[in-house]
């Protein structure tokens, strides 16, 4: 699929067909994330792939009731838990290099962008579920102290096409040379 088409047509998908995700397809999706750039190529991202229905249900229960991502996490055949090794991205010689501190969220964004674009190109649907008790899911997954859970991304074949969501106009987002 053309890269511009993938970016233009990718949607948040929260309902999935009753169809498993093939191992080779899942590998291609994870491979796309692996190829992302990162702070000094530190690659702080880590992925826990969950297929076990009980674990998926517990992850879903870590989201607020009424959150549209909740059912998606319980229903999807696969849930990818995006985690980050902390104290690496944005650091040099053990110290944060900028006023923004640990950059793991930025690098996770780069990787999860590639993962979700690849999924769309393979006919799969995803949604970023960040509104979730990250501490609880980290405990559930048995993450070590220096690894943080960031978001859960359900992955499955869409039940039906999703509608596009609006975006701010270019004039609202882009300035020339200086803010004002």
């Amino acid at each position: 699929m053309d890269v511009f088409e993938a970016m233009r047509e990718r949607r948040s998908v929260r309902r999935y067909a009753d169809r498993p995700v093939e191992d080779t397809t899942l590998e291609r999706v994870l491979e796309a994330a692996r190829q992302a750039p990162s702070w000094a190529n530190t690659q702080c991202w880590r992925f826990v792939v969950v297929r076990d229905p009980q674990t998926k249900q517990r992850i879903a229960e870590a989201t607020p009731e009424g959150n549209p991502g909740r059912k998606a996490l319980a229903q999807a055949p696969v849930v990818i838990c995006a985690c980050a090794q902390t104290g690496v991205s944005g650091f040099f010689n053990g110290k944060a290099s900028t006023a923004l501190g640990d950059w793991f969220l930025f690098d996770l964004g780069l990787a999860m962008s590639q993962l979700t674009l690849a999924a769309h190109a393979l006919g799969l649907g995803t949604v970023h579920v960040g509104l979730i008790d990250t501490v609880k899911v980290g405990e559930l997954l048995g993450l070590p102290a220096d690894v943080k859970f960031v978001e859960a991304v359900p992955l499955g074949y869409p039940e039906k096409p999703s509608k596009p969501t609006p975006r701010k106009s270019p004039a609202e987002l882009v300035k020339q040379e200086r803010w004002s």
Copy 2:
């Protein structure tokens, strides 16, 4: 360009040909960022497009001497300054919704991933320059108090092809069902 090819072949590019970037090409690159998903579709990203040689030079001087991004920022025909409206992404009713606080770095990662993939597909080179005095550049650009400068991305036609950088193996990055 195929989306998998774009992800596989995109490189960090730090030397640019003496060739301007057409306005319509720049618009396509920014359009790709605009289409990214974000926390509750809040779209906290803002872009300041810099072409003025003096401003580019000052941004370059906000990076440490010896940083390979420094020359790239001064030399590139365009520098895209990625900024974030704070207090929006990751928030609900004015409060941070998760233990990770403000999610602007994650959403900026999503947008800048799409921007750099689009640039590559159009024959342009980019590099993420995050090792930079973000406060100093924010002042230089005249950002308001609630908008933070995140990173600078030089944009131009590559002088020559870049070599790929290695990645950790899938086994180092991916775990099944649980961390351990």
